[in-house]
Symmetry: C2
Amino acid sequence: LASEATLGLIHYISLPRAHGKSFAHRSELKQAKRIVVKLGSAVVTRGDECGLALGRLASIVEQVAMLQNQGREMMIVTSGAVAFGKQRLRHEILLSQSVRQALHSGQNQLKDMSVPVLEARACAAAGQSGLMALYEAMFTQYSTCTAQILVTNLDFHDEQKRRNLNSTLYELLRMNIVPIINTNDAVVPPPVPNSDLQGVISIKDNDSLAARLAVEMKVDLLIALSDVEGLYDSPPSTDDAKLIDIFYPGDQQSITYGTKSRVGIGGMEAKVKAALWALQGGTSVVIANGTHPKVTGHVITDIVEGKKVGTFFSEVKPAGPTVEQQAEMARNSGRVLASLLPEQRGEIICCLAELLTEKKDEILSANKRDMEVATASGCFSQALINRLSLSTAKLNSLAIGLRQIAVSSRDSVGRVLRRTRVANNLELEQITVPIGVLLVIFESRPDCLPQVSALAIASGNALLLKGGKEASNTNKVLHQLTQEALSIHGVSDAIQLVSTREEVEDLCRLDKMIDLIIPRGSSELVRDIQRAAKGIPVLGHSEGVCHVYIDSSASIDKAIDIVRDSKCDYPAACNAMETLLIHRDLLRTPVFDQLIDMLRTEHVKIHAGPRFASYLTFSPSEVKSLRTEYGDLECCIEVVDTMQDAVDHIHKYGSSHTDVIVTENEETAEQFVQQVDSACVFWNCSTRFADGYRFGLGAEVGISTARIHARGPVGLEGLLTTKWVLRGEGHTVADFSEQGSMKYLHESIPVPQGSFT
Amino acid sequence: LASEATLGLIHYISLPRAHGKSFAHRSELKQAKRIVVKLGSAVVTRGDECGLALGRLASIVEQVAMLQNQGREMMIVTSGAVAFGKQRLRHEILLSQSVRQALHSGQNQLKDMSVPVLEARACAAAGQSGLMALYEAMFTQYSTCTAQILVTNLDFHDEQKRRNLNSTLYELLRMNIVPIINTNDAVVPPPVPNSDLQGVISIKDNDSLAARLAVEMKVDLLIALSDVEGLYDSPPSTDDAKLIDIFYPGDQQSITYGTKSRVGIGGMEAKVKAALWALQGGTSVVIANGTHPKVTGHVITDIVEGKKVGTFFSEVKPAGPTVEQQAEMARNSGRVLASLLPEQRGEIICCLAELLTEKKDEILSANKRDMEVATASGCFSQALINRLSLSTAKLNSLAIGLRQIAVSSRDSVGRVLRRTRVANNLELEQITVPIGVLLVIFESRPDCLPQVSALAIASGNALLLKGGKEASNTNKVLHQLTQEALSIHGVSDAIQLVSTREEVEDLCRLDKMIDLIIPRGSSELVRDIQRAAKGIPVLGHSEGVCHVYIDSSASIDKAIDIVRDSKCDYPAACNAMETLLIHRDLLRTPVFDQLIDMLRTEHVKIHAGPRFASYLTFSPSEVKSLRTEYGDLECCIEVVDTMQDAVDHIHKYGSSHTDVIVTENEETAEQFVQQVDSACVFWNCSTRFADGYRFGLGAEVGISTARIHARGPVGLEGLLTTKWVLRGEGHTVADFSEQGSMKYLHESIPVPQGSFT
């Protein structure tokens, strides 16, 4: 009895809950100290091709060991002993039936032999040791000890047994050992086989065991993995089923459960019951798919890092809508926005412009709060603080820009691009329409918000805005003003501000809700988003390696002015020159000397291309790569023999952004312009003109180096797509068959400029 | 001695090479019967976050077991014992230093403690048993036995030892046991630690051991996995480094090796030497990355299935160029094609049209061969055979279609879309240019080839064609004729026929070489390609759930004609009606009865939507999903209360392809047309008009349900993008600053219709 007290009650009291109560938001799950990972039998035993899920199990062990090494206390509730035992017993029986035959056959014929019917409890007994041996072999690779705990539900009903169990588990956790818990299937009543799981005898799911244990052990987070993505609001096979991201106990009546689940005997309703029970006991719960090959690699660590995986059970319902609801509201309201008259959209934008000056005190005071926090945190550069800061002057010029967008908005949605008389009384029109729902992700600069909002309003698109955390106060006020402006025509929901807590990566996966993503920020941001966006097009460019080629017939003055402007006007811009290509004949001429002198005067660091370096006795540092975007007062110089060589160099090392020829020879220039396959090709002017405003496109949406849709500087047109409208009088294609009465005319009907439907 | 003979020489002779000589092409690797998988130390021990690569190892075991279960003979040459031992010994030493401290700390502090310097041979001895235990625990899950074989290079030099080793291995393979072979590091000279591999003591790489063993054991395929993608033609860090897909011994001089490789001591040069040695001995070799997280899951089975993974070593150099070389040739030749005059491109197309009739005997005889093979194989449906078959009539109408494309080609490349006077003497033009390199993947129908070729020529695009195997003879002849036509203007390489052996999935990954993929075939093909295409846009649509809505004010005659035409004209087409929406007021009226009668007469099977079913006493079968594309004489009928309900239904369940309203009320019609957010929205005409030819777009490229670039039926325009050309006289943006001398004018200059640069 004394030893029991030492091992049991003392620790029972001395180890309280690590966190205290369930977490309100996924982002808080990082703080979970004590975690139970529950593995359904499908996770442990149902492999893709070989019958067993070894790779999956290894990955789970890897993640659990990693979290343990971070200082968390990890426990595993496992299923699968029955299936393991079945595999093993079947093998043994077949071997004893026909040892020689099996051993000497060239192929493994065990699979094809008739399988004896096995009793589940015997399988469990035979499988448990194999399962534990496997866990141990795997955890040993991470220098992590494991311990086996077999329990039955009765162990929780007897107070003494319960305390013994708890104190054992606490002691194991204190010793940095991972307890692996399973039901003692050898002594429980025989489970009912589930005919749905072919080839695997299902055992009673361990959901209630895991939930009970989680509450007893004051666990912070229970991760329940099975073979479903999570909880759906109606049976997943139905048309409208939606995966629930966060589930609140109050929402339970809104769920329709299917009559049958593929997972063990438990089914989803039992899982939810267990989860709610654990939640009430203070443990946060996530139900997720542990068998999905694409996410398996990180499903546990992803959940702990707060990513949107599976269904998160939370007691605290946040005030606002979820991002999915926001996207839905935006799409519906956006459709109304698209159906307004162009003048009405213009009115909204002008109203927003007015609000920017009218409510400037409110805006600037919110901005001041953001600036103070950012400055105090000490983790932002001065450049970033400058981008974050707003001023009366900035707001005024913002308002002017918005009024320009209002003007150009008149000529966007509903424009007739083409009109065709297909046949008598059958007329076709192609008209511009909004793309749908845009997601704009922008960093630090809060002036982005009204600008982008105005572009969306002008083009009739719905908009989800995701700004940086550092500008959250300013963005909030600016978004409120935008909604105020939208409300004058009853479409205030068309533009939604997404919570800063939402992960960009999660947003980029909402391919059913978002039609186009526009990143506004560093090329790193753009690259990250291009990588994360699955099935949603991204408008933007991640690099700009722009060239200026100085031809042998170049004017010296133009060459110097253009190179200076292209490199030095704003070296960080994507349309700044990165590589200067010089015709060989110019080497050791005054043109060349003056170019180099100018670059030295402007403090441009020069890197030499391999050919250029070979011409020099004392060469500057040779380039590492001819594909470098310096983004600073640096550039590469390379020598080419002919205009054709320059074109080849640009095709090989360029990014198809903007490339320039400087020459007085018109024929050479036109050949260059014709041949260079870039979004912008210029003759005798600076690369820096590659810009929507300078092109006169009005508002600039961005610059695209994609080859489809929009290319180069993109104006409002890049936010539009088209729709075909055909108006007939009962026409059928059968009328146009050989026996039919009608003939195709396909007459083009002229479209007056600025024609709207 | 007798037992030696029994165990050794007899089997040595009785088990010849399974295949005979090395394979000529990746697609033949499926036949490999005896396979060695060589795992470099990086594969076995370098994990992502935890230090060990457990998940990776499990996945490798899973694949090896799977291949073994297919009846192949699998061997593993493993590294990693030293690293395993190091991990284990460090743990032991630290434990013995401070057992209590380590056990009772809440966190795992082992990682932070100073690590004693360990001798590699001791580590190897300590690690080997752990490594084997792990392999055994893992293989046991697949009922697969393993055996440990430790060898040194000396074992190969002594004839008797060599025979003993061989006979042991043969005996193990005969007993369906997987031999796991490692160097006996405990007795070999101490290897030199490689400072490049932080934290892991590198051992001499097992490349030469694996190669030697492969030749001795007459192995068909050696898969050598390390942490590089394969063999590059120059050091992978340089600008132009390209991964070599297939390497021939004769190509060796074209390779530049880096001075140092990250993998063990061996480096790439040693790996290649070992691979070539094995190849000479008759074993095919693939060098690939076994650590890449995305491919790990299937790298071994992918290689055996013939997929383009890593570098394949082949003795037989195929006659033609690789697909990468084809893409390069196509792009270069395509740039010349794009620079031709529109009339010249038209001439090429007309020449091809002539060749189709001129060389019709040659075409039809090749087609006959394809038909015979297809018919004889017995695995093609009659429908497919029909699609495969060509006739004089088909060729004639094909030639007519081509001549139409030739006409429309005049108005494609180089068209000026916009002209702006940015400032004095600074003029901007936006002109149409080809997209670049297209990949068209088409099934069975060989008439696709000249059609698509003509579209590419008309739009100045380079083209890679990938046809079905069943039409290979026909496609070959048609492609030769296309090249003949292209040669009249010296651009015969612009269109390339890709070998039927190339996997579609591999082609869809060539994102640096292909700008747009166009699938022509079943919606299954389109879906597969959309899934496989990483970073390359796909033009097409995978589903068409088109609706016809019969409004309460519909004309009965129009309703019946339009529904009949929409459903029955060609039920398999994507623009056929799938769901008929009927206004509630029409139920139990003559309109309704006549509609149902007509559908019955036409043998259309009716499925009832849930609301429709609720109105009926004896309802037809209720739909499983309102989103079904039947593609046959079947449709769903659903009841809606208002036009607005119809719009909502279409938005919720439609695929944004083509939707129709039938009504005599113009206001209702215009609201429907305005609100429905689909590529094609029609009033009082059949869904079947959604087609490029019927729209009068000339040649049809396809139908797109994407929201960006092209939407709905796509003509030649969908194969074009734009380029911005700016012509100045030395203009810089600095000239336009506040202190500058210039002002932006942004005057639009009128563009005459059909204006070309």
